[in-house]
């Protein structure tokens, strides 16, 4: 008797999300667990967005900063470099300079940056605030208006500030990142609150919060895996938006991505180690269900792209 591969069938399906207007990108849409293409259909590969920011990356470690040397002094040049030279399929602009403890740039300045970047690129743009809930509720509203009609992703809306950000995303026809802090029940609750405002659940991207390898990744992995299982096996419509992993932001601040080889010779070459750290974190979250990754180092992105090619 011939061997029949045992397969699962799932009740639910992840929403398909398309972003951008000129060149678009689509992710999600699968009705199976990550890379289980032998059990169903995975119409789109996970999307990787290159992260840039509104201020020069002086806070990024040297290993990473030097990759963008001469390209990252202003966000427009940086965005064009990612799109034209690195062939980015999407760009994530983090408005970190608006944080009150940083440059404290105003919402108007942030909106100007968004307009300038959008004028220079034709790939989809993801617009992220500084994760300061109060400031984000001003900055992301202005940024959202500046990006009107470009079908961007705006984020991150958190429980404390979701009302203004949801309203802005709704008014300007964007997609929205909903971020909760590593708690599956609070993640569902935030998605409910957002949909109760009249925002379509099919336009949400869930961010259950990323953690770097060695710094709690098992929590991120477990929450994401359980969200995906709820979406697929329980057909939980609130948990069916695609998920995002904000990889670079969490990876490049950990010790393993920064400590020099002279300080810790047993840890080996810093550059390889740091790239590996970003790639390993990204790979783990892809396997737990992420469909959208925000990443920083081109070599790590390359590694993950070939990882996806192998598995899909």
């Amino acid at each position: 008797m011939a061997f029949a591969l045992p397969t699962e069938t799932y009740a639910g399906k992840v929403y398909e999300v398309t972003i951008g207007t000129d060149k678009t990108a689509t992710f999600g849409g699968e009705n199976v667990l990550p890379f289980h293409n032998f059990e169903g259909t995975i119409p789109h590969k996970p999307l990787i967005a290159y992260e840039i920011q509104d201020v020069p990356p002086e806070d990024w470690p040297e290993t990473l900063r030097k990759v963008y040397e001469g390209k990252s002094a202003d966000p427009v040049t940086w965005a064009k470099h990612c799109q034209d030279d690195l062939k980015a399929e999407a760009i994530a602009l983090r408005l970190i300079g608006t944080h009150p403890d940083r440059e404290n740039r105003s919402a108007e300045e942030a909106a100007k940056t968004v307009s300038d970047v959008l004028a220079a690129i034709n790939v989809p743009l993801i617009i992220l605030g500084s994760n300061n809930p109060d400031k984000d509720s001003q900055v992301l509203v202005a940024a959202s208006e500046a990006a009107k009609g470009r079908n961007c992703i705006i984020g991150k809306a958190q429980e404390s500030n979701h009302k203004t950000i949801v309203a802005a995303a709704m008014a300007n026809n964007h997609k929205l990142v909903a971020m909760s802090e590593l708690d599956i029940n609070l993640s569902k609750q935030l998605n409910i609150l957002i949909t109760q405002m009249g925002f379509d659940k099919e336009r949400i991207i869930t961010d259950p919060m990323c953690s770097a390898l060695g710094y709690g990744i098992e929590y991120s992995y477990s929450v994401m895996e359980r969200i995906r299982l709820a979406a697929l096996t329980q057909n939980d419509v609130i948990m069916q938006p695609p998920m995002m992993g904000d990889i670079g932001f969490y990876v490049w601040k950990v010790k393993e991505a920064q400590a020099s080889e002279s300080d810790l010779p047993q840890w080996g070459n810093l550059e390889q180690r740091a790239i590996g750290w970003e790639a390993a974190t990204a790979a783990a979250l892809l396997l737990s269900g992420a469909e959208l990754l925000i990443m920083r180092h081109p070599e790590a992105v390359k590694t993950i792209n070939s990882f996806i090619e192998e598995l899909i």
Binding site: D183, I184, N185, L186, K188, Q189, I192, L193, Q196, R226, A230, Q234, D236, I238, M239
Partner: protein, 285 residues
């Protein structure tokens, strides 16, 4: 079903203030109300009570039993306070219940107290190492506690096994595991072991308006699993008993007349059974 009235707890501000001031009024008022609502025992939770615990527990026991013909559940981690409470407990109204021992060796002497004062003891199925992972682990710990009870001379009929109810908002999968544990505990002896839960912990951390709903329907599911007693709000439990036929009908897959109630019961059973992911607004979905 024995309801152990939960309202006299140091966590409640009004009760705490009355305990501090040794003001009998509020304590007795609450005790009487719980008795009238159907409690068969009154829980006296004085917390860790490191200072003056002995005196406080004695005051609580006598204050309660002055006005209510019921036994008292002595709820504290302070060993000496428990013994002091047992010394003044009036057994005319029934035997005291000690809350609690566990599989932590430091808590074993509690069993000795139970045997010495002819009191009953709650055995919380946790060890020193943290929370039990599933029903099987709870049963394994229960077996340890039972062996220990026999060793210390406490009859198994006087031991109530408590599977430890966890919050549904943070540990949803344990809601069902506790129900399974209640079933398993009964199998562990003949006559079946008695069981108890701290019921309202299931809804701890949930929005106020859904707490009674979760408490009541969870109680009914535990009752159906054979639960013997619960530390709970007697008023809420009386309501639960009245609503039990409706809940049982929904469990059997029948349609009940009140559509709103039907939705409420169905959605709540689904989160308890773990077939829908819990969120604070689960009833609104």
């Amino acid at each position: 079903m024995l309801i152990i009235g939960e309202k006299l707890s140091i966590i409640a501000k009004r009760v705490r203030e009355a305990m501090m001031k040794k003001d009998k009024g509020p304590i007795q008022e609450i005790a009487i109300r719980q008795w009238k609502e159907g409690s068969g025992m009154i829980d006296a939770n004085i917390g860790p009570a490191e200072d003056g615990g002995e005196e406080l527990m004695q005051w609580m026991v006598t204050t309660i039993q002055e006005v209510v013909p019921l036994p008292v559940c002595l709820d504290t981690t302070n060993f000496k306070a428990i013994e002091a409470g047992l010394k003044v407990h009036n057994n005319t109204w029934g035997r005291a219940l000690i809350n609690s021992t566990s599989n932590d060796p430091e808590r074993f002497p509690i069993l000795e107290l139970g045997a010495k004062y002819n009191a009953q003891v709650i055995g919380l199925t946790v060890g020193k190492g943290g929370l039990p992972a599933d029903a099987e682990e709870r049963a394994a710990i229960a077996a340890e506690i039972m062996a220990r009870a026999m060793e210390y001379g406490l009859p198994l009929e006087d031991l109530y096994l408590d599977p430890l109810v966890l919050q549904i908002a943070t540990s949803q999968d344990h809601a069902l595991k506790v129900i399974e544990a209640i079933k398993m505990f009964q199998e562990m002896n003949d006559p079946p072991m008695k069981t108890v839960v701290g019921l309202s912990n299931i809804s701890n951390g949930c929005p106020k308006h859904i707490r009674p709903i979760l408490n009541k329907y969870y109680f009914i599911m535990l009752m159906n699993a054979g639960l013997t007693s619960a530390i709970a709000d007697a008023h809420e439990m009386a309501e639960a008993i009245r609503e039990k036929p409706l809940v049982d009908a929904v469990i059997e897959g029948k349609t009940i007349e009140d559509a709103q109630k039907m939705r409420e019961i169905k959605k709540t059973l689904e989160v308890i059974m773990g077939s829908t992911l819990f969120a604070h607004s689960y009833l609104e979905m």
